[in-house]
């Protein structure tokens, strides 16, 4: 479903600031995301990436500024309203519903039109359409073979793909991925990054929050870099990474080290 005019950006972040008591996690950040973009949102530990994502998805209300989706303001809307407006999120800490199979997990997301209100959900019983949608999305992320299995016996790689499939089943206009590659080894990370790129090529706008700079540089057309809550870089990945301010923020001045870029600590997510 395309937004009305092509030049209005799909997602607009206007001067968003988020303060927790004394701490300013996000400080006056603005950027746009256009239809079809695959934007990487990166930054060293404690840069405020996750808080930014939370402000977009609605877990946190911005202290100042606002977020627009397809020209419509999202301020004050609860999470489920934003999801219903076409946004969807794949969470960093995977949380499958263990009482049902992988296919049923995805089918539940696919039934969003039926489960929009308790009454509609009450009146609808059949699951055929949703199970079919689940099959296609699972195939798209490459885990259709485990469709009827329970999530509790799957490795992390499969669960990450289940999160992705569930998010896709919501037929979003904008997909937010919160560190999908975290905890995966290099082959799994590469494979999942490739899948993400393919999904983007199929026309879905994606904002990717990720520490794995190698993969980010490989698949993203544009980067936004945050440091200490401020935006310090926005544009083509090569240009942005060459910018001394960005390098300093990341490396403390010396050359871009692959290992440092690879590693990340979970401390950052806890503090935000």
């Amino acid at each position: 479903m395309n937004h009305p005019t092509s030049n209005t950006p799909l997602l607009q972040v206007n001067g968003v600031t988020v303060r927790f008591g004394g701490l300013t996690a996000v400080d006056d950040v603005s950027f746009d995301v256009h239809q079809g973009d695959l934007l990487g949102l990166i930054g060293p530990n404690g840069a405020g990436k996750t808080t930014m994502m939370r402000a977009i998805i609605g877990v946190v209300q911005p202290t100042v500024g606002s977020v627009f989706l397809g020209g419509e303001s999202l301020n004050g809307l609860p999470i489920h309203k934003r999801i219903q407006k076409g946004m969807s999120l794949s969470q960093q800490l995977v949380r499958p519903l263990r009482d049902m199979s992988i296919q049923e997990n995805v089918a539940l997301a696919a039934a969003s039109d039926k489960t929009i209100s308790p009454l509609r959900a009450f009146l609808n019983v059949s699951t055929d359409r949703e199970l079919a949608v689940a099959q296609t999305e699972l195939a798209r992320v490459g885990i259709v073979s485990m469709a009827s299995q329970s999530p509790s016996i799957q490795p992390l790689g499969v669960l990450k793909r289940l999160e992705l499939a569930r998010a896709l089943a919501l037929k979003p206009r904008l997909l937010l991925l919160d560190e999908p590659l975290a905890g995966l080894n290099s082959q799994e990370a590469r494979a999942l990054a490739t899948t993400i790129a393919e999904i983007n090529q199929q026309g879905l706008t994606i904002v990717l929050i990720e520490h794995n700079l190698g993969e980010v540089m490989r698949i993203c057309q544009r980067l936004v870099v945050l440091d200490n809550g401020k935006k310090i870089g926005d544009g083509d990945p090569r240009v942005v990474m060459a910018d001394p301010v960005v390098r300093a923020a990341y490396l403390g001045g010396d050359a871009l080290g692959a290992s440092e870029a690879q590693g990340h600590s979970t401390l950052e997510t806890q503090r935000a």
Binding site: H80, I83, R95, D99, M100, L108, A109, K114, P118, A121
Partner: protein, 286 residues
């Protein structure tokens, strides 16, 4: 024969009441320690209307609506409260109900309401209607479990936050569960009034709320057949256990503890362990 009829009617009313709680606690995972309040509202509504000349059948919808209305109000309040506070808040609502009703002369105060007119259906007719209502509520419960509403309830019971991220309006579903559960509790209250022909505030107190919760948990939270069997058994346990007489509360409390200690899934849990059903492909647990 009257004794058996009265026993079966008591069972049917208990099953209605337990199934109504199963919708809230079993399906939606919200623990309520004050469910007897809503049976009480239905009971008092039916008693007052009955004494004002309303025919029995006419009091049923009113009892359901009144109980459901307060259920939604309590539901709204419970949405603001953290999970482990919910149980205590609903318990608080229970004490408030008993505390307030006892003080109102218009509701018979401490003396309760008596000489409630006869329902006019005859003993057997009344029992048949109660059994019919039970069957209806059981069918509704099974239908809900099969429907998308049931699947969303299961999801909410397991992980609310994930359901929110999947675009589910969690508060509205909880309210829907509360409304259905409390209005059906009101229905069982109306039957209770006409069955016992005498009600007092303390018939809907904390002990009754625990009794009905134990029936749901005993049967197996969320399992419709389990809850029906448990409610039927536990409601007549005191009468059957007359022979144990002196020890029946000891046995009751002990059974509750032993079941929770060794099979938290209740009877349904035990059944699943001994005759495992086919792997979960179609709907959830029967």
């Amino acid at each position: 024969m009257n004794y058996e009829i009265s026993l079966i009617t008591t069972m049917a009313i208990a099953v209605m009441f337990a199934l109504s709680l199963n919708l809230i606690t079993g399906f939606c995972g919200q623990i309520s320690l004050g469910h007897a309040t809503f049976q009480g509202i239905g009971a008092y509504a039916a008693a007052m209307l009955g004494k004002a000349g309303w025919p029995f059948l006419a009091t049923l919808p009113v009892s359901m609506v009144l109980a459901g209305l307060l259920g939604v109000i309590v539901g709204l309040a419970s949405l603001r409260v953290r999970a482990d506070f919910l149980a205590i808040t609903t318990m608080g609502v229970g004490f408030l109900f008993v505390g307030i009703v006892r003080q109102q002369e218009s509701l018979g105060g401490e003396l309760g309401v008596s000489s409630i007119p006869d329902h006019g259906l005859g003993r057997v007719g009344f029992m048949a209607l109660a059994l019919l209502m039970c069957a209806g509520i059981a069918a509704l419960s099974v239908y809900i479990k099969r429907s998308w509403m049931g699947r969303v309830f299961n999801g909410i019971a397991e992980d609310e936050d994930t359901m929110r991220v999947l675009g589910i309006d969690v508060p509205r579903y909880k309210l829907a569960a509360f409304a259905m559960g409390t209005s059906l509790a009101g229905l069982s209250g109306a039957f209770y009034t006409y069955h016992l022909t005498f009600i007092g505030a303390e018939s809907f107190g904390f002990v009754e709320s625990i009794t009905v919760l134990s029936m749901v948990v005993f049967g197996g939270i969320g399992s419709v057949p389990g809850v029906i069997i448990a409610a039927a058994l536990l409601s007549v346990l005191p009468a059957w256990f007359q022979v144990i007489g002196d020890y029946k509360l000891l046995v009751y409390g002990g059974l509750l503890f032993v079941m929770m200690r060794f099979s938290p899934g209740g009877m349904a849990g035990l059944a699943a362990r001994f005759f495992p059903t086919t792997p979960l492909v179609k709907g959830g647990k029967p």
